[in-house]
Amino acid sequence: MKLTPAFCLGMIVTVFLGVSLFVISQENQKQRDVLSTLNKSLQAKQEHRLTLEAEWAYLNKPERLEKMMATLNKTDVGDAPVLAQSNVMEALPVIALILPPPSKPAKRYAVIQNAEPVKDIAMVLSQLGQGVE
């Protein structure tokens, strides 16, 4: 067999392409492995999230929260105005004024997590502020 220039060129190109393809396929495999690991960990995390969400739902059952409130905070808010958590910052200056001394239980307002914000905060604040000296 004679080594013509075209043949040599062909060989070089072939070797180059072969090596490139090999490297690429290796890289591809590596990336697939990474992807598969990521997917597995993602699935595990998703499952973990589902479990945590379910646990959170159990822990936040209104019935349980009410019982907890009854044990931890024996304050009966009666028909005192109720504030949503998002209203608290707004209401702080007024709350600070009406807060009873730490020895006495607070009876004048209640903060409910996740409650819809009070639309007319001014009115609630005026109710809270009544009797403030």
Binding site: G10, L17, I24, Q46, P62, D79, N87, I112
Partner: protein
């Protein structure tokens, strides 16, 4: 190299004839093969170029993580979607659990395996475990949800025939709170009841469903109903809260109920959703509908009066009043004292056709579809005789579901524009509005309903600062033999608030309440259902942060004029009675 080329040239030049032809052929073939290979390599090179540079370049420009998103999707598709309340609290979800299967073929010492399993699961019955271990079948489920400790113990025991499999289990963290609404899935993961059945396809695709229900309100309603059921030793109780403007059902409770996590233990009466599947003669709450029909068809003045002196006789029927006033009554008085005679006369006055048209428009003759859940067929008299017009005016002889009532009264309170109840959270305002009644009729009805709470039978539903308007309804239940039973009542109250611009509707129905000390022995709606509505409205105010209305002008305006009419009617009749006696 040059000598090599020259050598070939020389040879080419010297070859003649046949040999020349053979050489040309060979040259042609090699040129062809070379070209083909070069083309092939070029193709491969182009493809390499495409894969390494071109495609990533375009991918980066459009969607950088397309590939991984495609890979992720099947994971979420495996699990059924979640059902949440309007605030995102989970009502139904899937959790991954490890199930234990046994393949007895791979267990050599079955006695030991049985003993070990009995030790690990002491609560399992010995017989069931033995049957599984010694079974001739393969892959039998031993336990659906293993705790990590149990899993560890089984691994330690080391039997090759004990196999772990990861499975998804449907759980209902809120238990019985939302049982009727959410329903449950069977062991094959198919929705069997409630919204699990209605949205089965969507949930199975992994899509979540957000309900209109507010878990906190659901709890408040559940608590109030359970307390009333206990207080009045009632057979059943149910309640609905609806946002009048959007038709969203914020709470729907039907007692007795069951825990969907263990639905197979539930008895049929526990699984029965009164709000959707029960049809009842509602009694006086129907007067809201018949009085609305009067305003809509005749546009009378509130002073229009009817003679309720004596019981009304129609054929073999005799219509009495429960709280008999035995005099001529104006419209506000008929409504406030809940006069059956007065309402029957109203029905007679407006006529069968008009009454039926208004009832049909308000949707009490037909099943209604609430987000795919169809209510039971109302029982409408067939044929409709003239006496049916009289009885239907005060809610007898026609039986509807509580959901029918909620839709009809919701429409009346919504300025006469149709309210369509829905279990699904709605985000956008509906563009198409169907007007059923005039705004004037709606306003007049709200005035009358407010009067019932301020001066009439619904006083126990009043919550200061929230202007509850409503109507009580106490219906005697029909016995199996056909007659009405005086001691078996169905007490209900439908209220809306605030009366001057209603946002919410609250309905409570108590089945067969028995009077107690607190209610002075009464089991009527004013003593049973109305206080339940009061409790629910109080809770709603606290939970939703609804401000109290301290300005009472609007409220006074509503009933002021009616109060005058009543006072006038009472004084004039006392005067004429005096004259007659003289």
């Amino acid at each position: 190299m040059s000598s090599f080329v020259r050598h070939i040239h020389r040879k080419v030049h010297t070859l003649q004839g046949e040999r020349q032809t053979a050489l040309d052929l060979a040259r042609g073939r090699s040129a062809f093969i070379l070209t083909s290979f070069l083309l092939l390599y070029a193709l491969v090179a182009l493809r390499v170029l495409e894969l390494t540079y071109i495609r990533p370049y375009f991918l980066k420009q459009e969607t950088p993580i397309t590939a991984s998103i495609d890979e992720v999707k099947p994971i979420s598709k495996e699990t059924r979607g979640k059902i949440t309340d309007r605030e995102g609290n989970i009502l139904a979800s899937n959790v991954a659990v490890t199930a234990l299967y046994i393949d007895p073929v791979f267990i050599q010492n079955k006695d030991d395996a049985y003993k070990d399993l009995k030790r690990i699961f002491p609560s399992e019955s010995a017989e069931t475990l033995r049957n599984r271990v010694f079974s001739g079948k393969r892959n039998i489920l031993v336990r659906a949800d293993l705790t990590p400790q149990e899993q560890e113990a089984i691994l330690q025991a080391g039997y090759p025939g004990l196999i772990f499999r990861k499975e998804y289990m449907r759980i209902y963290p809120q238990g019985e709170q939302t049982a009727h609404l959410v329903g449950f899935v069977g062991s094959d993961g198919k929705g069997l009841e409630g919204l699990e059945r209605i949205f089965d396809k969507q949930l199975n695709k992994g899509e979540d469903v957000t309900l209109a229900v507010d878990l906190r309100l659901q709890y408040a309603m559940h608590k109030a109903l359970a307390a009333k059921m206990k207080d009045f030793t009632a057979k059943a109780a149910s309640g609905i809260i609806m946002d009048i403007k959007t038709g969203e059902i914020l709470s729907s409770v039907s007692l007795p109920d069951y825990d969907p996590n263990t639905f197979s233990d539930a008895k049929p009466h526990q699984r029965f959703d009164t709000n959707i599947n029960g049809v009842y003669e509602m009694g006086s709450t129907f007067k809201i509908l018949s009085t609305a029909a009067l305003f809509e068809s005749k546009d009378p003045d509130m002073t229009l009066s009817y003679d309720a002196t004596k019981p009304l006789v129609s054929g073999r029927f005799k219509i009495h009043d429960y709280h008999a006033e035995k005099r001529v009554l104006t419209i506000p008085e008929i409504f406030m004292h809940s006069s059956n005679i007065g309402s029957a006369l109203i029905g007679q006055d407006i006529g069968t056709d008009t009454l039926k048209t208004v009832y049909r428009d308000l949707g009490v003759f037909d099943r209604i579809n609430v987000s795919g859940m169809t209510t039971a067929q109302p029982l409408v008299p067939k044929p409709w005789r003239s006496v049916n017009t009289l009885t239907a005016s005060y809610g007898h002889g026609i039986a509807v579901t509580p959901m029918n009532m909620v839709q009809a009264v919701g429409t009346i309170a919504n300025g006469g524009v149709k309210t369509t109840p829905t279990f699904i959270k709605t985000t956008e305002q509906k563009l198409r509005q169907t007007r059923i009644l005039s705004e004037k009729t709606s306003k007049q009805m709200l005035q009358l309903m407010r009067l019932v709470v301020t001066n009439g039978t619904g006083g126990n539903a009043e919550v200061a600062g929230y202007s509850v308007a409503g109507k009580t309804g106490t219906a005697e239940k029909i016995s199996a033999s056909g007659g009405y039973q005086k001691d078996k009542l169905l007490s209900s109250f439908i209220g809306v608030f605030p009366a001057y611009d209603p946002q919410y509707l609250v309905m409570v129905m108590i089945d067969e309440p028995k009077g107690n000390k607190k209610s002075y022995g009464y089991a009527t709606a004013g003593w049973t259902a109305a206080p339940a509505v009061k409790e629910v409205v109080q809770s709603m105010a606290a939970i939703l942060g609804l401000p109290k209305n301290t300005d009472l002008t609007k409220d006074t305006q509503m009933v002021g004029r009616l109060q005058e009419i009543i006072d006038q009617s009472e004084t004039s009749q006392k005067g004429s009675a005096k004259l007659a006696s003289n």
